[in-house]
């Protein structure tokens, strides 16, 4: 869709930039007239051909890139399951999940696709749930259409109008609790032209958790309302558990390979200062949108927001993914890892000891 629309958008951006320079105003001051006119006329929506069932994946896996060059009807079926899982060693928590994992299943569609979305709520659930996908243009992002009692299901259809990496989450009352229990995930709307090819793609999502017991206190820990209210989490985690993506569970890649991370932040409360220890992000698709920044050390990911970061793993090491609000790493669990194996590259990095970098895990 909208080759025209894109040109208009780019043109408007130039106008805004020029305006900003001339008048010394911030770009954040608001869109120039014309940006709001960039709505795609119905006639420009791509023709939808055929139907396919979406491939959903659990973290840290990402469905394969879309090779289609046309829009289709994508059917997504996602079931809400309330289940006890490991939060940390010796600590359990009753998570509320989209598809049985925290974060929920990764959904991948193409710009222009018509998405037929079915949300099911498991019969044994205790409470009703729904879903708000930030990729949706429409009432509540689908929340209104998908309220489902235990044992029920609901379906709605939306057009994936704009490319980007979007958060989805539950929006039933009390919303902060549904999110704090793990009800979030990511949906990628690939641009028509696709994303540049990389060797590996992974799915990482941060969330903050509030338990009655302090960090590490063993047993089945109930949700703590007061800590949520005070915004004082006991756990800040990548992919829903301490160590979900470290040690044996850290993905392994080869030095010289390229990596793309689809990173989300479910919150409910904290903003992430996302950083990779021992790497520099070659590319950051800022906030999951079309703006590209390069050579970035740390990128901000708001609660209910995302980022796409890409880097080439130049040397063998264990790349640590952290929230650089660093006590969250040291005390609250905000740590994931990617193991990079291969030959040392002393012209890039030399530890002067003649042996491999110690495994940080």
């Amino acid at each position: 869709m909208s080759k025209n629309g894109k040109r208009t958008l780019a043109g408007s951006a130039v106008v805004v930039a020029a305006f900003a320079v001339v008048f010394g105003t911030s770009l954040a001051a608001g869109p120039a007239p014309g940006l709001q006119d960039d709505v795609i006329p119905e006639a420009q929506l791509p023709e939808v051909k055929g139907t396919e069932l979406a491939v959903l994946t659990s973290p840290p896996h990402v469905p394969p890139p879309i090779t289609r060059d046309y829009a289709t009807t994508v059917k997504v079926e996602l079931e809400v399951v309330e289940k006890v899982m490991k939060l940390a060693e010796g600590v359990e928590y009753e998570f509320w999940t989209f598809g049985g994992t925290v974060p929920g299943s990764f959904i991948r569609v193409r710009e222009g696709d018509l998405v037929e979305f079915k949300l099911l709520n498991h019969h044994d659930s205790k409470v009703p749930h729904n879903i708000d996908l930030h990729a949706v243009t429409g009432q509540g992002g689908g929340a209104e259409a998908t309220m489902v009692a235990p044992g029920g299901d609901a379906t709605f259809t939306f057009r994936a109008l704009l490319p980007g990496l979007y958060v989805y989450h539950c929006a039933m009352a009390p919303v902060p609790m549904h999110i704090a229990n793990g009800m979030y995930g990511l949906i990628l709307v690939e641009p028509e032209e696709g994303l540049p090819k990389v060797d590996h793609e992974f799915y990482v999502m941060q969330g903050d958790f509030y338990t009655r017991g302090r960090h590490g206190e063993p047993g089945l820990q109930p949700f703590d309302y007061q800590k949520l209210y005070d915004e004082q989490p006991d756990y800040v985690l990548f992919n829903g558990a301490v160590g979900a993506m470290t040690g044996d569970r850290a993905p392994e890649i080869q030095a010289g390979e390229t990596v793309r991370l689809f990173v989300g932040n479910g919150g409910p409360n904290l903003t992430s200062s996302f950083h990779a220890i021992g790497e520099i992000f070659d590319v950051v698709r800022v906030e999951g949108g079309t703006l590209i920044n390069r050579n970035v050390q740390t990128t901000t990911i708001p609660a209910g927001g995302s980022s796409i970061v890409e880097f080439r793993a130049d040397v063998p090491s264990t790349v640590l993914l952290v929230d650089h609000a660093i006590s969250r790493v040291f005390n609250k669990g905000a740590l994931a890892a990617i193991k990079v194996t291969g030959d040392e590259q002393p012209l890039v990095y030399d530890n002067h000891k003649g042996h491999k970098t110690a495994d940080a895990n």
Partner: protein, 263 residues
């Protein structure tokens, strides 16, 4: 048809709540298994526009949720409520799905569990067969404010946290084995969620993210204006469930108990 029945239910619930004079009431004040609740006023989670307090007249309420054994006796006496006979207009496909047979609740150990997988229609008929009725939302919420010692502990953050933990805790334990409050009522928090007569009349909202006003667009939900109530997450969960089920819905964690008006 369903819409008509729902409308009728909602309309009927109003005089029930206001005058507390339900149909088929009995004169004997405290039948077996029931507790006399002294009426009073409280500030509910959701209020009608302009409404400050809700007043509940004195009434009688089952001390415990209805058990599988009790519901078995009901379907044996009223075969039209057996799962293979109940019309799909009144029950969904999961009605009494875990039962051993259409008129048999199953093993001995299951008999004292609260009955679940029952629709609003079935629950209402059960209560009517006992000369009783379902409690209203106001009545249910009124008694749910009690902890073990106080009839109104709703402002206590510690009690609210406990009620929330109970609500999310283990389900379907033998009735009476859990939390028993100052009224002498068991299992209001934890074990099972419960149908109320006017379940659909207050709508928790599909998209309720603001703390002060849950959803301005939803009729009847004036929202939470007292800051204290915004922390009553157990109540939010109850209202959310009541707002999403239909009268024919059944779920594995939704049962009921019966009430009677006092003349």
């Amino acid at each position: 048809m369903k819409a008509l029945l729902l409308t009728a239910a909602i309309l009927l619930s109003v005089p029930l709540a206001a005058e507390a004079s339900g149909p088929r009431e009995r004169r004997d004040p405290e039948p077996a298994g029931m507790v006399r609740i002294v009426g009073g006023s409280f500030r509910p989670l959701y209020r009608q526009p302009g409404e400050e307090l809700v007043t509940v007249a004195s009434f009688l309420l089952d001390a415990r949720p209805v058990t599988r054994a009790q519901f078995e006796a009901f379907v044996q006496a009223h075969p039209r409520w057996q799962r293979n006979r109940a019309p799909r207009l009144f029950v969904d496909a999961n009605y009494l799905r875990d039962w051993e047979g259409p008129a048999s609740a199953g093993a001995l150990r299951a008999r004292e569990l609260p009955v679940s997988d029952v629709s609003w229609f079935a629950a209402k008929s059960y209560c009517e067969a006992q000369g009783a009725r379902l409690p209203t939302t106001a009545e249910w919420e009124y008694v749910a404010r009690a902890d073990e010692h106080r009839r109104d502990a709703a402002a206590d953050a510690g009690f609210r946290q406990r009620a929330l933990e109970l609500a999310l805790g283990r389900r379907l334990q033998p009735v009476g084995s859990g939390f028993r409050n100052a009224w002498g009522l068991s299992d209001l928090h934890g074990n099972i969620m419960e149908w109320v007569y006017d379940f659909g009349s207050v709508f928790a909202g599909s998209d309720s993210r603001a703390t002060s006003r849950l959803d301005r667009n939803i009729t009847c939900a004036a929202g939470v204006t007292s800051t204290g109530s915004a922390g009553d997450y157990a109540a939010f969960l109850r209202y959310a469930l009541r707002g999403t089920v239909e009268a024919r819905s059944t779920t594995g964690t939704l049962g009921f108990r019966c009430a009677r008006s006092i003349p």
